[in-house]
Symmetry: C2
Subunit: 256 residues, 2 copies
C-alpha cells in the first residue's frame, strides 16, 4: 500500500500511554498521523461529552508525519474538536482509537471511552477502529496488538466497506506467537456485577470503591468476542449506532 | 392498579432538580419509591462509570414511601450502587430515569446520562424507562411529562413485556393540552455538528466551549422520534443493549 493515507488517532488512556504510542506505530506505516488525545486518563467515560466546563487544547508533539494535541476533555470531545474544529479541513481516511489498556469486549463497549470515541468517529462518516489489548498493565506488551492491528487497518483501508463502519477489536493477552488469528464475532451477552468496597476516611466518613466482574451469560457460545479472546483469537465486532430495538416494536405496538 | 409496586428512581440532573421531583410524583402513584441520584449535574455523561475515584453516599430524604440517597458519581454508578449494594435485597418492579431537562431523542440516547442509567438498569433485568422533556429550562413545566409518563409507567407495569426492556421516552415542550398522544418511534438518523467558541482567559490562555446543533439526516421520515416530537407527540423508542451491527457481518466475512 502506498504510504499516503491520513489517520486520526485518539484514545482514553491519555496521549502519554504506551498503548497510544503503539497506535502511532501502527498508523505511521500507512501515512501521516494527526491526533487529539485526552491529557489525563478517561477510562470508563463511555460516550460522555463535556457540557459545563471549557476545554483547553495543547500541542504536545510535532515531527515529520506525526502531529499530536492533548485536550482536557473526554475521548468524544477529542473527536468533535478534531472534525468540527482543528482538523475540519483535513480529509481523514481512518480513525484509530486506542490501543486501550484493558478489554473492551462484550458489554464493555458501552462503558469504554476508547469505543465511545470510535463510535463518535463513525458519526463523521469516517471508518473507525477501536483497538484494545486485554491487559490493564501500564507496561503491557503490545507486540500482538500492533501486528494484528496493522492487519485490520490494512483490511479497512484497502476495502470499500459500507458506512457507518466502526469495529471493536480486542487482542488477547498472550504472546504474539500464540495468537491463532482474527475472528469475526458478536458482542457476548452478559453484564458486570459490582462489589462496593467500603472504607472510612481519616475524618470518619465512609466511601466506596466500585469493583466488579463480568458475568458471561452464554459461556458456551462460540461466535462471541469473549469466546474468541479466551481461545486465542483477536475478536472483531462491528458496532452499530442505531440503538432502536426493532425486535421489540411488535409487542409495544400491541400495548401502546 | 393496587398501590404496591416498588420503583427505583435516578436521573442525571441531580436529586435537587425539578424533573426528579416530577419523577417522584409519577412513581408515588404506583407504590413505594427508592432512589439514588447524583449529587451534582451529570448531563452528557453517557454510560460513564467512576473508576479512579471513591464514591460517597448520603441519605437526603426519608418520609413515608419515599427514600432518596445522593451519590457523588455518574448516573450509572447510582444504578450499580443500588442494585449491587444498597438495595440489593429489594425486589424492584421498575426503574425510572429522569425526568430529564432536555431532549434525549435521536443520537442523544448515546450521550445522555439519563439514558445511560436506563440502559444500565435493563442490565439488571428490570424494565426501565428514561423520561425526558424537550426543555432545558431549570424551571420547565412538567405537566405533560407527568401525565404521559404516568400512562407509560402504567402500561409497562401492567403488561408482561419481554426483557431486557428499556424505553427512551421524550415529551414535547408544548402545553399538556396540545400533546396529541403517544407514538412508538425509531431513533432518528443524524448527528450533532459542533461549534467551538474560542475565548481567552485573564491569564492569556485560550479555551473552548463546545456547542452544537443536531443535523437530522431524514427530516421527511414520519416514523422517527424527531418527527413525533416536532408534530406534538410523545415519542417512545425501545432501546437495545447489543451493539453488534449484524447487518455488516456478511461483508466483513468476505474480507477478514
Amino acid at each position: 500500500m502506498s504510504k499516503e493515507k491520513l489517520i486520526f488517532l485518539t484514545n482514553d488512556d491519555s496521549y502519554r500511554s504506551k498503548g497510544f504510542a503503539a497506535a502511532i506505530e501502527i498508523a505511521r506505516q500507512f501515512g501521516r498521523v494527526i491526533a487529539i488525545a485526552p491529557d489525563a486518563p478517561q477510562s470508563g467515560m463511555s460516550q460522555a461529552i463535556t457540557i459545563n466546563n471549557p476545554l483547553r487544547l495543547r500541542k504536545v508533539r510535532e515531527e515529520e508525519g506525526v502531529l499530536v494535541y492533548s485536550l482536557d476533555g473526554t475521548p468524544v470531545d477529542c473527536v468533535k474538536m478534531a472534525f468540527d474544529h482543528l482538523f475540519a479541513e483535513e480529509k481523514v481516511d481512518l480513525v484509530i482509537s486506542g490501543i486501550n489498556h484493558g478489554s473492551n469486549a462484550a458489554v464493555n463497549v458501552l462503558y469504554s471511552g476508547t469505543m465511545g470515541a470510535a463510535i463518535e468517529a463513525a458519526f463523521y462518516n469516517i471508518p473507525s477502529i477501536g483497538l484494545s489489548l486485554t491487559d490493564h498493565d501500564l507496561d503491557a506488551d503490545f507486540e500482538g496488538a500492533v501486528k494484528y492491528g496493522t492487519q485490520i487497518v490494512e483490511m479497512v483501508l484497502t476495502n470499500e466497506l459500507s458506512r457507518p463502519l466502526c469495529l471493536n477489536v480486542n487482542i488477547p493477552n498472550i504472546p504474539c506467537s500464540e495468537i491463532k488469528g482474527i475472528r469475526l464475532s458478536r458482542q457476548t451477552r452478559g453484564y458486570w456485577r459490582e462489589e462496593f468496597f467500603k472504607r472510612t476516611d481519616p475524618h470518619g466518613r465512609d466511601y466506596f470503591w466500585l469493583t466488579g466482574a463480568f458475568a458471561n451469560a452464554e459461556p458456551n457460545a462460540t461466535d462471541t468476542d469473549e469466546w474468541a479472546l479466551a481461545n486465542g483469537y483477536v475478536s472483531v465486532v462491528p458496532v452499530q449506532v442505531d440503538m432502536t430495538a426493532y425486535s421489540q416494536m411488535e409487542q409495544l405496538k400491541s400495548v401502546l
